[in-house]
Amino acid sequence: MTAKRLLLILPLLVLPVALAGQGRGVAPKDLGKPPVDSWPTYSGDYSGKRYSPLTEIDRTSVKRLGLAWTARLTAGTGGGGGGGFRRGFGGPPVIVGGDGPADFPAVPANVKGTPLVVDGTIYVTSPDNVWALDARDGREFWHYFWRTKGSTPIANRGVGIWNDFLYFVTPDNYFVSLEMKTGKERWNKVHADFAQQYFSTSAPIVVDDHVIVGTGNDLDSPGYIQNFDPVTGEVKWRFYTVPMKQGDPGLDTWPSLESARHGGGHPWLPGVYDPETRLYIFGTGNPIPAYTAGRGDGDNLFTCTLVAVNVDTGKMAWYFQTSPHDMHDWDSAQTPVLFEGVIKGKPRKLISTAARNGYFFTLDRVTGEHIVTTKYGTATNWVKSIDKNGTLRRDPGKNPIVPGTLTSPTSGGTINWEPPAYNPDTKLFYVPERNGISIYYLTDPDPRGSMGLGGKEEVQVGNAGNFLTAIDPLNGEVKWRRPYPGNGFGAGGGGLLTTAGKLVFSGDASNNLVAYDAETGKPLWHSRIGSVSNAPITYMLDGRQHILVAAGDTLYAFAIYE
C-alpha cells in the first residue's frame, strides 16, 4: 500500500471527519498547458479548444469504451453523493457556508458546468454545491453547500483553481474560496448586488495571480467582469461591458447614459486567455430590455460583443460586436476559441466564435481585425446586410411586433451556452447548430420599452433541423453537418470535446453520449446515459484515458479496460 493510499484510508477510521482529498493543487504557470493527466481549467487549457492530445481512445478503440463508474450527486445537506458503501459509514459531513435561511430548499443537483480534474480528484459543481470526488470511483471526499438567500439557480459552470485553492460563484453572487484538500471555506466576497437581481453562474478563470469572473442578470443592470486577488479576495479591477459614465466609449450607441447603465451585456460564460498578448477575451450578453423598444436605434455597445481586456490592467484592447442592437435575446457570451492559421499566405493568431444569432466569426486575436463572417444556422433569417468590416446589420422587419414576426433562430439561439471545440489535427471548429423557427409577438408596445426579458411572447412553430456542424474557421465554410435525429431537445448535449484520437464527443437529441469521427461526423460509439448536461472532458488516470460526462445529477466515467 502506497503512502498516498494510506493517507486516503486513515480518515475512514476516524469518521465522521471529512475526507481530505488527495488533491495537490495547480500552479498557475501549469494552467495553459495542453491537458494530459488533468483538466485544470474550464476549457482544459486557456485556448477554449476543448481539445485533448490524448490518443488511447481513437476511432478504432472507441468501440471498446466502457463504463468505469457512475456517481449520483445529492445537493443540499441531505448528503450522500458518490459510489460505494460510504453512506454506510455515515458519510463525510456536508460543509455548510452562506447565511441564507436554513429552510430554503436546495435545488436538485444538475451538472451544467465543467468538472476540473487534478491529481486524481474531481471538483464538480451544481448551483450552491461543490464536491470533491475520487476520480478512481466517484467516491465523495468532501461536499460544500452554500445556503443561498434566493436568486435564480440556473446553472454553475464550475470552479477555478489557483495553487491549493478553489474559487466559485454562488447564485446569490458570492465569490467563495475553498481549500482544495478539505473543502473548508477560506472566505467569501460579494461579487454582485443581489438586490439588483444579479445571479452568478460563470466559472472563474485563473491567470497568474488573477481570478477573473463575470456577472449575470436578466433585470436591467450593467454587466461586468472582475479580477479578484486569489489570496485576499480583494477586487483588483472591474471592467463594465456597457458605458457607465459620461465620456465612456460606446455611449453614443445608446439613447442615454441611464439606458446604457441598465443595458445588460452580461459576460455569462468564461473567456479565453492569450499569454502572448496578456489579453483575456470573452463574449458579452444581450442588451436589455431584450425584445422591445427602449434602447434607441444605436448598436448598444458593448453588448453581444467579443471583448479583449488586458488581464493586468482591466483595460480594453479591442472589441468586435457580433450582434449590433440585438432584438432577440441572442447573447454572444459563448466561449470563443484561440487557434493559429494561415490567411492569404500569412500565419495568423486567430480567434473564432459561433454566436447564438446563427453567425460564425473569425478575427485576428491580437488586433481584433475582422477576417470571417458567415452564416452557419441554415434557417437564420434576421440579417439585412453585412458591412465591409464583417459587422451584421439586422433587418428591423424581424423585430418582435404585435401581430407576430417569423424568425429563426428561436430566442434559445442556434447555440446557447454550450461550449464548442476546435481540433488542430482536422483544423475544424465544431459546434451544435439548432434551427428552430419562432413567431415573436410583441406584447408590450410601450415606446419606453419593457424591462428585462419582458414584453414578448414567443411560440416555436417549426424546426429546420439540429446538427453537429464542422466549420473551417479560416473561411467560415461548413464542411459537414451531422443531423441529431429526434425532435430537438438536448441536441448537442452540454457542449463538445475533441481529441487527437480524431473524435468529437457530444450528447445527441436522444439521451445518448456519442463519439463522432472528427473528420466525417460519422457516429462511432454511444451510450444512452440520459440527457447529457455538460461538455465531456478527458484525462489520463492510472495509465488509462478516461472520458467524464454528466447527465443531470449523475457523473459517468468511461475508459477502455480490455
Binding site: 448586488d193 433585470l219 417569423l406
Partner: protein, 319 residues
C-alpha cells in the same frame, strides 16, 4: 388579445394625476415560469416540455420569492394605497405613474439601484428631501418623511410584482391586434400555397370557431397544428404524425408512426398499439421517415410576415 403594460397609464397621466385610476399594483403576483437555461427559448413544437429536475425542492422553489424585491415584507395595503396617490401626484409626471420612466425624462424607478436597495424609505427619503443636484429633480423637504415612506412602500409593491427574468409588473390591459392582415390577399395566398393539401370546405371548415383566439389561430396554422401557444402543444393527429418505413435485411417492411429515432435505434408504433424497436447500423435497416408537415417547413422558409398575417386574417373569417 391584450397585454398588460403600463403605457396606457402613462398616456392617461394628465387625467390620472392624483386621481385613483386603475393602476398596476392591485393584481395578484403573476405566475412565473421556471427560469430556463440561457434564457431558454421555447420548446420545439409537438415536443413534450422538458420535465423539471427530479426532487421535491424544485416544485416548492418555483413559488419562492427569489430576490429582495420579491422577498421584502410588504407594507399595509392602506399605506401602499396612500403612497400610490402621493407618488402619482408628486413623482408620476417625471417618473411615470407606473414608475417605468416618464415623458419628462425621469428614470425608471423599478430598475433603480437605489430603489432596489432600499428597504423602507431609508435611501429614498434623503433623495426626495435633497433632490438630485444638476437634474430637474428639485429638493422636496415639504413632503413628510412618513409620506415618502408610503411612496417607497408603493414602489416596493410594484417591484414585488416584477418577474424573476426582469419583466415589469403587469399594468393596464392594452388591446393587441393580431388581425392586421388583408383577408383577401390571404385567400389568394391560401389558394396558391395551401390548397394543394388543405380545403376550407373540409379540414379547415370552421377553423376560426374551433380556434377563436387570433394568436392561437396563427400559431396553429403556421406550425401545422402542433403549437397553439407557448406551452400549448397539440398531439399529432393521424394526418400529421411522422411515420417511418423500415426495410429489414430480410426484405420485410415495417411501417408505423415514429416513436423514436436516433443514429442507433428506430422505434415505431404498430397497428395493434405495441411498439417495436430496431437497432440501426449505418444504413441497415433502411429507414425512410415521412413527415406530413414537410410542406409547412418548406413554407416557413419563404413565408413573409405579410403573407402570414394575410392568411391568418383569411382563416379568421372561416367561422
Amino acid at each position: 388579445m391584450t397585454a398588460r403594460t403600463g403605457w396606457m397609464a402613462v398616456a392617461a397621466l394628465a387625467v390620472a394625476l392624483g386621481a385613483t385610476a386603475r393602476m398596476a399594483g392591485q393584481s395578484p403576483q403573476p405566475q412565473q415560469p421556471p427560469p430556463t437555461e440561457g434564457h431558454g427559448g421555447p420548446p420545439p413544437p409537438g415536443a413534450q416540455a422538458p420535465a423539471p429536475p427530479p426532487g421535491p425542492g424544485q416544485a416548492q422553489r418555483r413559488e419562492l420569492p427569489r430576490f429582495p424585491a420579491h422577498q421584502r415584507p410588504q407594507a399595509d395595503p392602506a399605506v401602499i394605497e396612500r403612497g400610490r396617490g402621493l407618488y402619482v401626484g408628486n413623482c408620476g409626471p417625471c417618473h411615470g405613474a407606473d414608475a417605468r420612466g416618464g415623458q419628462l425624462g425621469g428614470p425608471n424607478l423599478l430598475r433603480s439601484q437605489l430603489v432596489l436597495a432600499d428597504n423602507d424609505g431609508e435611501l429614498i427619503v434623503p433623495v426626495v428631501h435633497k433632490g438630485r443636484p444638476g437634474t430637474i429633480m428639485v429638493p422636496r423637504p415639504d413632503i413628510a418623511e412618513a409620506d415618502v415612506k408610503a411612496m417607497s412602500a408603493y414602489l416596493h409593491h410594484l417591484q414585488a410584482q416584477g418577474s424573476n427574468q426582469g419583466g415589469p409588473p403587469p399594468g393596464e390591459e392594452v388591446p393587441l391586434d393580431i388581425l392586421v392582415g388583408d383577408a383577401k390577399a390571404g385567400s389568394a395566398y391560401f389558394e396558391q400555397k395551401c390548397a394543394t393539401c388543405h380545403s376550407t370546405a373540409d379540414d379547415l371548415k370552421g377553423i376560426a370557431t374551433r380556434v377563436p383566439e387570433a394568436m392561437a389561430l396563427q400559431n396553429v396554422w403556421v406550425s401545422g397544428g402542433r403549437a397553439a401557444g407557448r406551452r400549448q402543444f397539440r398531439p399529432p393527429t393521424a394526418r400529421s404524425a411522422v411515420t417511418a418505413s423500415i426495410t429489414l435485411p430480410s426484405g420485410e417492411k415495417v411501417e408505423g408512426p415514429l416513436v423514436r429515432l436516433d443514429d442507433f435505434l428506430v422505434t415505431i408504433r404498430q397497428a395493434d398499439g405495441t411498439v417495436r424497436s430496431f437497432r440501426r447500423d449505418g444504413d441497415v435497416p433502411a429507414v425512410v421517415v415521412s413527415d406530413p408537415l414537410k410542406g409547412h417547413l418548406e413554407l416557413l422558409g419563404v413565408l413573409t410576415n405579410t403573407n402570414m398575417h394575410d392568411v391568418t386574417a383569411f382563416l379568421a373569417t372561416l367561422k
